[in-house]
């Protein structure tokens, strides 16, 4: 090619890697080559085979066939230890940190100390501080990890990899946990690391980020490479088509609708967080039948507490919440009242070791036809799963597959399939698209639209403004446990939404505009 890429030495070449799990072909002759000094984006929907490929690279899976070449030499990687020894560093989506240990302790964890059996924490701390300064990565070496923000933990993970001498750094969906303002900082670090001759593999499904930061893109779909090209030759449109195999648009197609009867009424609600600090401080909201209320805001401003209060999972210290005129304490145990899509689908919404059919009846197992006279009717439970798998296009080997083996998007479909089963009057979806790819985001948003059109009242909590605007009929913004104001889902309101997210009330913004 004429972009001069072939003059740069090859750092990594994964050649025709194939890996299957039983009947499921996760990667089918996938080839990925990363050059020295390159940010290489690996783009694909959930279940496209990105994570499996990276697990092969990190020695967590052995490929069925295919070769791995590093610096022109063929290698085998039997374990993460060997991967680290080869200079491969990985920042997983779920951080591999011990919450009780400090940053320094986490960095040396699993490494061989020079003066065994004694630890040399002081030297490690010194090197960590130097590294942090060199790369302008703000990490307190003495702070325990549980006190760090997700962004801070991510910086620590990167430092951990650098500390171990990583020349090839894999970042698995690194922006998923970051506030929009933190993403720029991450990209700066990525560019700096690449400019020093490291190779970066950037796994993502967000087209805008891929086009912004990467030099080269490889797109995967259903376990196969659908294209690999320099980023500047790619447009968001072509990438999306390669990724999904069809045209995608998140833009709203219909005008906002106005709901009818009140389904959810929240007045003057206060509550506290898990740490005992104020969580909600006087929230008033009304959600009506047949409308979607979008709740925007930076993560951690009371959205989680609000959702848990509505679901009756968190005690309200003042004020009232009424779902269909009743307090929500047993809302989760009554059929047809509340569908809850929790923000952490794997921890809160699913039981990983349970199979798909069991996860689909986590709430309905105690009712006919799934159980009668106290006994479960497994035949009905399996049949239900077969139907739901087909109806929601859940990609899995079958009803008996453990749900932990599914990709994120398919796990979310299991949750939504379950929570919409009894046509509940109210649906609360908290960050339902987090970590999902474009295709899955589209189908999740469409499922919520269908619920609204059926007549459900929908609460949609999201930090993705584009999605809030695309889906909601009304938008409120939360900041520090309060509702700052309500605006229509109009791109023209974006500025005001942004200001409200930073803590200005709608009145003061409008007053400022007048003055």
């Amino acid at each position: 090619m004429e972009d001069g890429r072939h003059q740069t030495p090859e750092l990594l070449r994964m050649d025709r890697i194939t890996k299957s799990f039983g009947p499921l072909l996760a990667d089918d002759a996938v080839t990925l080559d990363v050059r020295v000094g390159e940010i290489h984006a690996l783009l694909g929907e959930n279940g496209a085979g990105k994570s499996t490929l990276m697990k092969v690279l990190y020695g967590l899976h052995q490929p069925d066939s295919g070769e791995i070449w590093l610096d022109g030499r063929q290698i085998t990687i039997g374990s993460p230890h060997e991967a680290v020894a080869h200079g491969i560093g990985m920042v997983h989506q779920q951080f591999m940190l011990v919450p009780n240990l400090t940053a320094t302790e986490n960095v040396i964890l699993g490494m061989r100390a020079e003066r065994r059996p004694m630890l040399d924490l002081a030297a490690a701390r010194k090197r960590l501080v130097e590294l942090a300064r060199e790369y302008d990565l703000d990490v307190d070496p003495d702070a325990p990890v549980w006190q760090m923000s997700l962004g801070g933990q991510q910086r620590l993970e990167i430092l951990k990899a650098l500390f171990r001498g990583a020349r090839l750094l894999v970042l698995d969906e690194p922006t998923a946990v970051l506030a929009p303002s933190e993403v720029g900082g991450l990209f700066r670090i990525m560019r700096q690391l690449a400019s020093e001759g490291r190779g970066i593999v950037f796994i993502s499904h967000k087209l805008s980020e891929v086009t912004e930061v990467s030099d080269h893109v490889t797109v995967l779909r259903l376990g196969r490479v659908t294209g690999t090209l320099p980023t500047r030759e790619a447009t968001a449109h072509t990438l999306a088509t390669m990724m999904v195999g069809r045209e995608i648009s998140l833009a709203r197609t219909t005008a906002p609708v106005v709901g009818t009867d009140t389904v959810l009424e929240i007045s003057g609600v206060h509550c506290v967080t898990d740490r005992g600090t104020p969580g909600l401080t006087g929230v008033d909201l009304v959600v009506r039948k047949g409308e979607i209320l979008g709740i925007a805001g930076v993560d951690g401003n009371g959205q989680r507490e609000l959702v848990e209060c509505i679901a009756g999972l968190r005690p309200v210290t003042a004020g009232t919440i009424l779902v269909e005129g009743r307090p929500p304490s047993s809302a989760l145990r009554e059929p047809g009242l509340l569908g809850l899509v929790p923000e952490d689908r794997y921890e809160q919404g699913l039981i990983g070791d349970f199979d798909v059919s069991e996860n689909l009846v986590l709430r309905a197992y105690q009712r006919p036809p799934y159980s009668t006279n106290g006994f479960l009717r497994w035949g009905r439970i399996r049949d239900n799963a077969t139907q739901r798998i087909a109806a929601f296009d859940i990609r899995c080997p079958g009803p008996l597959a453990p749900v932990r083996s599914l990709s994120g998007g398919n796990q979310q479909k299991v949750v939504i399939a379950r929570e919409t089963q009894d046509d509940p009057a109210l649906i609360v979806a908290s960050q339902p698209t987090r970590g999902l790819d474009v295709g899955a985001v589209e189908s999740v948003l469409n499922l919520l639209r269908q619920q609204r059109d059926r007549g459900a009242a929908v609460v949609f909590v999201s930090t993705e403004l584009s999605e809030v605007l695309a889906l909601s009929d009304r938008v409120v913004v939360m900041h520090k446990g309060e509702v700052m104001g309500e605006v229509p889902p109009d791109p023209a309101a974006l500025g005001r939404i942004g200001e409200m997210m930073m803590g200005r009330s709608l009145e003061s913004i409008d007053a400022g505009a007048v003055a």
């Binding site: 679901a311 999972l313 047993s330 989760l332 145990r333 809850l340 929790p342 921890e347 809160q348 919404g349 699913l350 039981i351 990983g352 070791d353 349970f354 059919s357 069991e358 986590l362 709430r363 197992y365 105690q366 159980s371 106290g374 006994f375 479960l376 009717r377 497994w378 035949g379 439970i381 399996r382 009803p399 008996l400």
Partner: protein
């Protein structure tokens, strides 16, 4: 009716065989290490293990002895397994067993003149209630106050043992036999004795009860709403809460059930084997129950096998000592090594890498937490 929860028989057998790999390998390795120890003291391990096998299974008497040894640890194993499945670490089976024995004995001692088919169930129910009552306080503290059940159940074991010693004290004990040389109660009412299964041996109907209970619990866990909630709680308590499960109530239920089963172990031991309540009568059946449940991966049907295995070790130990002079305590080494290999994570990871997927134990989270 979907037998096997929708799995085919072949799938079930395959799953069962797969799950058996880790326990069987652990047992094998434990014997291997013990063989090295036996060689080190100058004996042929083949001879030692052969005499052990003979002592456990070689004759009708040997089999009966194994069955008698198996009965209490079958019950306590089931008690612990039930709690493990719900993510609760009930290590108080020992104390609950003592309380069950005391309650069972109190009822069995009454000369109420009722026929055996009424008196025996009454004694068993009393035993269940005694064990459940002893589990109530730890259960309440865990469910509603968040106090670790590990600490409370463990500490109450010692209280229970002392309580029974007081109850049967020859001088002041309410049910102690006055003037007896040992701290013991009087002999129980003949109508409350469990029938002997094999004439000339001590093998009693308690074993049948235990086997039936294992099957019943297997059905409970796999085929009922309560069992489903228990498994939810054990596998992901957070998701269980988000699915509307009232965790506190379920924890109470499971603790009472677990404690009650351990109580049955005590009551059965009194009305089936000893016919009196003695102080310090349990050589640690409650703690053996933990090992039994671990080895069975908390599967009630597996508990039948693992309790049988531990019982055979104990039953065979004496013949081994007679034949070779090796201390019976070697079986304790085998038992301990089995559990150590079982919870040794690298071994399971290795098996997992061979089988293509990690073997998960129901009590993994408990082991990791410990």
């Amino acid at each position: 009716m979907a037998i096997g929860r929708g799995y085919s028989l072949r799938q079930m057998l395959r799953t069962a065989a797969y799950r058996a790999v880790t326990p069987v390998l652990s047992v094998f390795l434990a014997f291997l290490v013990s063989a090295a120890i036996i060689i080190a003291v100058g004996t042929d391990p083949i001879v030692a293990f052969g005499s052990m096998l003979n002592g456990a299974f070689g004759s009708q008497t040997a089999l009966a002895t194994t069955g008698v040894r198996m009965t209490p640890i079958l019950f306590t194993g089931l008690a612990v397994a039930v709690s493990f499945r719900a993510g609760i670490f009930n290590v108080g089976a020992e104390g609950q067993l003592y309380l069950g024995a005391a309650f069972g004995a109190a009822v069995a001692l009454l000369p109420i003149g009722l026929p055996a088919f009424i008196h025996i169930p009454l004694a068993l129910i009393a035993g269940f209630i005694g064990g459940a009552a002893w589990a109530f306080v730890p259960g309440y503290l865990r469910a509603y106050r968040g106090v670790s059940e590990v600490v409370t159940t463990l500490m109450l074991n010692f209280v229970a043992i002392q309580l029974v010693s007081y109850l049967v004290d020859p001088l002041v004990g309410p049910i102690g036999e006055r003037g007896a040389a040992y701290a013991q109660s009087a002999v129980i009412d003949p109508a409350a004795k469990l029938p002997i299964l094999l004439r000339g041996t001590s093998l009693h109907a308690g074993l049948i009860l235990g086997l039936a209970l294992a099957v019943a619990l297997w059905i409970l866990i796999g085929y009922t709403r309560l069992g489903f909630r228990m498994r939810m709680l054990g596998a992901n308590p957070i998701a269980a809460r988000f699915a509307g499960v009232k965790s506190a109530r379920e924890i109470m239920t499971v603790m009472l059930l677990s404690g009650g089963i351990a109580g049955l172990a005590g009551a059965v031991e009194v009305i089936g084997l000893r016919y009196r309540l003695f102080d310090h009568f349990s050589p640690g059946y409650g703690y053996d129950g933990i090992a039994v449940a671990l080895l069975a991966n908390s599967n009630p049907l597996g508990v039948i096998l693992s309790s049988g295995f531990f019982a055979a070790l104990r039953a065979g130990a004496n013949s081994m000592q007679q034949a070779t002079g090796i201390e019976t305590s070697v079986v304790l080494i085998i038992q301990a090594l089995t559990i150590l290999f079982l919870i040794f994570r690298p071994l399971r990871d290795w098996i997992g890498s061979r089988a293509g997927r990690p073997p998960r134990l129901a009590q993994d989270s408990l082991i990791d937490a410990a």
